[in-house]
């Protein structure tokens, strides 16, 4: 397991190397970087014999134990199945992507982010700690955001990236809440502990709330209706990304999570009521919407939505048969859909077209791509002897034995008819029939471009040809991890002449009809179909987003008017309103004022401060104002010195000096000193100033009054030299005892400096570019 962990860390190294490798090696960079996921694959396979014997290797490193967060990796059959897909397909995606984006200056970025995604996704599949899983889960969302917005100069790509991030991120928050609920109920965040305490959990009413929250997270991630709309929009990403993240792996995370938690939450009454119907609706909606598309990638995206719905439906049914079906469907779909996406990308790369109506007859120009497309399409259509056939037979079998079997089965068959037609549209139509105009010069691209989809498609073919072995070695451990008891997995192509086979035949016949009638093309051109789309949940998203942004703009206008006086007003008022009542409440009255005999020089200094402060308000020249403010500052510094705070005094001196320097620099550029505010305004200002002063005075009194019985001062005094080897307590607090605070503060300082720089220079740049704003 340690070797496996090391191979995961290798992906970080690869991600760091990728920008450089991408620049130096071009299309060959993918071949080199594929080494890293292949190492993960090798380590995974080395652990496989143990998995078959029921071992689940665990690796646990402490992280933040107080939060219940530990780096606990646990490899079971389910996680291993997903990890196998992620690493295997990932290696091919790197090879394909490097060829696809060859010559693009952003190739290195693509490779780097893809490798990071791979790491995050592998993390999701092997995390045993729920919080760790959540961290990886969010990392996949972030890398997905970066990859969807890869073409960040196009507004649509940016909008799609935002949409995906907001939808999946919002679901992620719900997921976290669900995890925390379960964690509080069991006292642990280890999923294996949850599994052990599942009977106790099932009895608690809060568990149902947790289930709802977690399902919400899974639904957004796996694009279930009504959150499905982000997935088709995510097709703004480069095609290898769509193939990898948005069909083969990332969108499976939600399904995976449901499978992972099925042992914990499957016993709840809500599970078999809610999930099958969520999946059923998504399956139908996805398949129906796919029909109206003409863009290769969007066709595939909607069909992916449908397939994800099927997976949720199967897990929701929660029977050994349906779990088995889901575990076969998962790799089958990843293989054929990944391959089809890559085929679509290959066609796009060769002829720069994705509209299926303008494609045809490319089989001679792109023979290998055509072969890959054909095999993958047959798998998607569920033809023997491909893996897709096995998964579809199992799907039908599960639906036939489900509660409300008729409705379920009719929906399933209908969706599959449409999906089969889509498979033919994407995998066959671009290559067969008459060569469409403008495609004469097409030719096969770099090796990686056709090899990757071909390999994926062939793996699907081989897996279908040896169903018994696949069932024993691949599917059985995964099913056992979900069902917790050994389930007999005997896959075979021929089950005899039964109802699922009849349904399969029916599906093919109907799909042929749909294809022949060109129903998809007619729908795509029908205006009423497009109008229907406007009522979808995407519109709700738009409205919500608009409302949130509108509110943000409104409150920004209110709070941040751009006038300095208004800012000060808000800050002072809010601090007074928040701090003063709290301070007085905690004290239960006004703090007692203790006169501790003032020395004559104290009186003089305070006198200077008061007189100078008064004069500042009456001053009619800027230079005098600066000098008066300076004298206030220096007097305060001397007060610090007198009350034995030399560090504070020195800092104050230095800051005052720098302020003078600042004024020297800008004084000639400032406009003429004038009084613009009205009398009423000034009275108002006086009120604010007095309020602020009263608050600060009260706070100081409270602090000095309560400070008397505080342990802090004596603690720092005693431990400064012995623990931190320093006699200057102030400095020791700054750099050692409270060093973390200081680190935060200097970070804020650096950010503030960036802000000041942007304010000073940003305007200049904008003016130089032709003055958009002014």
């Amino acid at each position: 397991m340690t070797e496996f962990f090391v191979s995961l860390c290798g992906l970080i190294v690869a991600a760091l190397l990728a920008p450089w490798v991408g620049r130096r090696l071009g299309r060959w960079s993918g071949w080199l970087l594929a080494f890293f996921p292949l190492m993960v694959l090798v380590q995974l396979l080395r652990l496989w014999p143990g998995l078959l014997q029921g071992e689940t290797p665990v690796l646990s490193l402490p992280w933040a134990a107080e939060l219940g967060l530990s780096l606990t990796l646990r490899l079971d059959g389910l996680g291993a199945l997903l990890a196998l897909l992620v690493a295997g397909i990932g290696a091919l995606i790197l090879i394909y992507g490097a060829a696809y984006l060859e010559g693009d200056a952003r190739l290195g970025r693509f490779l780097s982010v893809t490798l990071l995604f791979m790491l995050a996704m592998l993390g999701v599949s092997v995390s045993d700690n729920a919080l760790l899983l959540f961290v990886f889960w969010e990392l996949t969302s972030i890398t997905s955001f970066l990859l969807i917005g890869f073409d960040h100069e196009r507004a649509e790509a940016r909008a799609a990236a935002w949409q995906a991030l907001l939808v999946t991120g919002g679901g992620g928050l719900a997921l976290l809440a669900g995890f925390i609920l379960l964690g509080n109920l069991t006292g642990s965040f280890d999923i294996s502990v949850w599994v052990m305490q599942r009977q106790m959990l099932t009895a608690q009413p809060q568990t149902t709330v947790a289930l709802l929250l977690i399902v919400l997270g899974a639904m957004t991630k796996s694009a279930q209706f009504p959150f499905h709309f982000w997935l088709p929009n995510a097709m703004q990403a480069p095609t290898p990304v769509s193939a990898y993240l948005h069909s083969a792996t990332m969108v499976k995370a939600g399904v995976f999570l449901l499978a992972r938690l099925l042992p914990v939450l499957g016993g709840l009454a809500l599970w078999p009521v809610l999930l099958p119907w969520v999946g059923w609706v998504t399956l139908l909606v996805g398949a129906l919407l796919a029909l109206g598309q003409t863009d290769l990638k969007r066709l595939l995206a909607y069909s992916t939505v449908a397939s994800l719905g099927a997976l949720v439906l199967l897990l929701g049914l929660n029977t050994p048969l349906s779990v088995k079906a889901a575990m076969v469907f998962l790799p089958a779909h990843a293989l054929y859909k990944g391959a089809l996406f890559l085929v679509a990308g290959g066609v796009d790369h060769a002829v720069h077209r994705r509209d299926v109506r303008q494609l045809g007859g490319l089989r001679r120009a792109l023979p290998w791509t055509a072969l890959a497309g054909g095999v993958a399409a047959f798998s998607m259509a569920g033809l023997p002897p491909l893996l897709g056939f096995l998964s579809k037979e199992l799907l039908y079998e599960s639906l036939l034995s489900a509660p409300s079997a008729v409705l379920m089965t009719v929906g399933g068959v209908l969706a599959n008819v449409l999906l089969t037609a889509v498979a033919a549209w994407v995998g066959l139509r671009p290559f067969w029939g008459q060569l469409k105009s403008g495609l004469d010069h097409a030719h096969e691209g770099a090796v990686g471009l056709w090899l990757a989809p071909l390999l994926l498609a062939l793996v699907g073919l081989l897996a279908g040809a040896w169903p018994g072995e696949v069932g024993r070695w691949l599917i059985a451990p995964a099913v056992q991890a979900v069902w917790l008891e050994p389930v007999k997995v005997k896959l075979s192509l021929w089950h005899g002449f039964n109802l699922p086979l009849l349904l399969s035949l029916l599906t093919l016949v109907l799909a042929g009809g749909v294809y022949a009638l060109q129903l998809a093309q007619r729908l795509a051109e029908a205006r009423w179909w497009a109008a229907l789309g406007r009522f979808g949940p995407a519109t709700w998203y738009e409205r919500t987003l608009k409302a949130v942004l509108g509110f943000a703009a409104w409150q920004t206008r209110l709070l941040q008017s751009g006038y300095l006086r208004r800012y000060i007003l808000w800050i002072v008022f809010l601090s007074v309103a928040l701090a003063l009542p709290l301070a007085l409440l905690s004290l239960g009255g006004l703090p007692p004022v203790v006169w501790s005999g003032a020395r004559f020089y104290d009186v003089i200094l305070v006198g200077i401060i008061i007189v100078a402060a008064f004069l500042v308000t009456r001053s009619r020249s800027r230079l005098a104002t600066i000098a008066l403010l300076g004298s206030i500052g220096y007097s305060i510094a001397i007060l610090f010195l007198l009350y034995s705070a030399p560090d504070l005094a020195m800092t104050q001196f230095a800051v005052e000096t720098l302020t003078v320097i600042l004024f020297v620099l800008v004084i000639y550029r400032l406009p003429k000193f004038r009084q613009l505010s009205s009398r009423r305004r000034r009275l108002w200002d006086v009120t604010v100033a007095v309020l602020g002063g009263v608050m600060m005075t009260t706070l100081m009194l409270v602090v000095s009054w309560q400070g008397q019985d505080s342990q802090l001062a004596s603690y720092f005094m005693h431990n400064s030299l012995s623990q931190a080897f320093g006699r200057n307590v102030v400095n020791v607090i700054l750099v050692d005892f409270r060093g973390f605070d200081t680190l935060g503060e200097i970070t804020v300082l650096a950010i503030a400096a960036i802000g000041v720089f942007a304010l000073l220079k940003g305007g200049a740049v904008r003016r130089a570019q032709g003055g958009e704003d002014e």
């Binding site: 000096t657 720098l658 000639y668 200057n728 973390f740 200081t742 200097i746």
Partner: protein
């Protein structure tokens, strides 16, 4: 932007005085930085003093002259300072202790005194403060 209404008469006093003052002030700032753990001083104060010294030079000569004098531009200095402060905390992590545990070399060195990661942290603060002040003020001065 308003043009300066008067052209400043260049005075001899300031440049000549600065020539002697600036090195002294810079030396003083390093002194403040190093003694900070035991006496009055520290990275923040040291950084402010050093920045004042350098700004004095910018006023006496010109902002461009200061830029030419600086071996590192202010902006990378900010990043370097922040990174140094962060690294000083990570040293403890590398040796298996919690983040930002102070580690010390037990034997004191001449001039520098006792060396430890808190001093490294303070050095980071020192550079960050110099970088920020110079960055903002030079941007203002050159605008």
């Amino acid at each position: 932007m308003n043009k300066p209404r008067r052209v400043l008469q260049r005075s001899m006093m300031l440049p000549v005085a600065t020539r002697y003052l600036m090195p002294l002030l810079l030396l003083f700032s390093v002194f403040l930085l190093l003694r900070g753990h035991n006496e009055v001083g520290g990275g923040f104060i040291g950084g402010l003093v050093a920045a004042s010294a350098l700004m004095l030079y910018a006023i006496a000569e010109s902002p461009a002259a200061l830029r030419a004098l600086l071996p590192v531009a202010p902006r990378p200095l900010v990043g370097a300072g922040l990174l140094l402060a962060l690294l000083s905390g990570l040293v403890a992590v590398a040796s298996g202790k919690p983040f930002m545990t102070g580690l010390w070399i037990k034997t004191p060195l001449p001039v520098l005194g006792k060396l430890g990661t808190p001093l490294l942290f303070d050095v980071g603060v020192y550079f960050l403060v110099i970088g920020i002040v110079l960055w903002i003020l030079l941007t203002l001065a050159e605008d």
